[in-house]
Amino acid sequence: METSDFELPEAERASHEPQLVVDVTGFEGPLDLLLMLARTQKVDLAKISILALAEQYLEFIRQARDLRIEVAADYLVMAAWLAYLKSRLLLPEAAGPEEPSAADLAADLAARLQHLEAIRRAGAGLMTRDKLGTEFFARGMPEENDPLQPQQFTATIYDLLSAYALQRQKKALSHHTVQQRVVWSLKEAREALERLVGVSQDWTRLDSFLIDYLVEPSMRTTVLASSFSASLEMVKEGHLELQQESPFAPLWLKRRLEPRPELQVLETKQ
């Protein structure tokens, strides 16, 4: 059955008609059409006349267009290329070392057609093989001692209920949203702070440092949180001084010119 599928019913039907084919849609691309046309030359594909083939193809496309059938772009590209190839094949070859000769181009096309043909034969050969479930069968009845039996799994109802309750509860009590948020990572925040703090020698408000990054309202929280954490880290390492006059008042930052090794020692001792 598969063979008939392979044998291009549309193309065959078409080739019996005197009025050349018009159904471009029956072909799987220009190469398929070329292969069908090549078959009409009734010679070994290795001995095919590419010039004749180019003419046949161009004629086919011309007729399709005369009949106002829309021809897909890739068919037209192939037509243009074949028209070019045809002209080169007809003209005496000008010695141009950079370009492949017309004969080479024609040979390449012939090889592509042969390759496609060979693959089709191989595919048809594959589909006519005896196949599991049609020509030959595997053991049908399951046996309980099948040595390839699938893995068995286990879980208890207790596992199930506690897992369910636990995660529902956890989720209900946290205000965690799964929704993907854009997060300003600590690393990004730190890099930005390092860059910006380097510019100013004076006390500056944390939020004004970040103003450039606050354009997107949804980013506000994450930028602030990450920058704050990053600034604490930098203070700890002695790169930065941080000041706040009262709770919720703006945070002020200033670059520290000399690192504070004594603080680091203290911190690590804890």
Partner: protein, 228 residues
Amino acid sequence: MTALRKPPLKIVGSEPETQADENQRVLEAILFAATDPVDEKLLASRLPEGADLKEELKKLGDHYAIRGVNLVRVAGKWALRTASDLGHRIARDTPPPRKLSRAAIETLAIVAYHQPVTRAEVEEIRGVTISKGTLDVLIETGWVRLRGRRKAPGRPVTYGTTEQFLVHFGLDQVEDLPGLEELKGAGFLDDRLPAGFSVPIPNDISTLRDDEDPLEEGDADLDPDSTK
């Protein structure tokens, strides 16, 4: 090399000069491939007119009686089965049943309570993403199945539990999974829960819901088991 034969299966064994009796071959092939014991009517219909089925079956039985596979009669029908004395020699060295990972059991629980549920919905409820592997494992257990596709952008697949799920967890019906009060009563949930917290009443009926479409051709292959 074997140009005459159709593209050959690689049959092992010396090229035989003759084949066994055709009727015997047909009978054993049918019995081998059958998914259930086969009745005599069907067997007879595959033999040439006038063949003596009883005699053929006796001959086949004799051939197999000494082998590792025997011809047996089950419920008035015929089947080939591995010889019962060999069970222990051939069965899989059954590894201890595998315990499900925590992620898998959590996902299973959510599928059970919230079915039909999509992967994204499971993630929403769990608050974490789940890997494809987790759902694959659950399908491999036979406890979770693909139900259909949600009528929503992307037409995500919906999951539900199977009959095997009920059997394994000793439930008569999925509605018997404990509800909010019972979970509280059993100490699985505590009282700090916010108002409006609810536990759905699960429902695993096969009929698709209004917001579900049937699976499409090829969706069966989503099931890792079906591709064997």
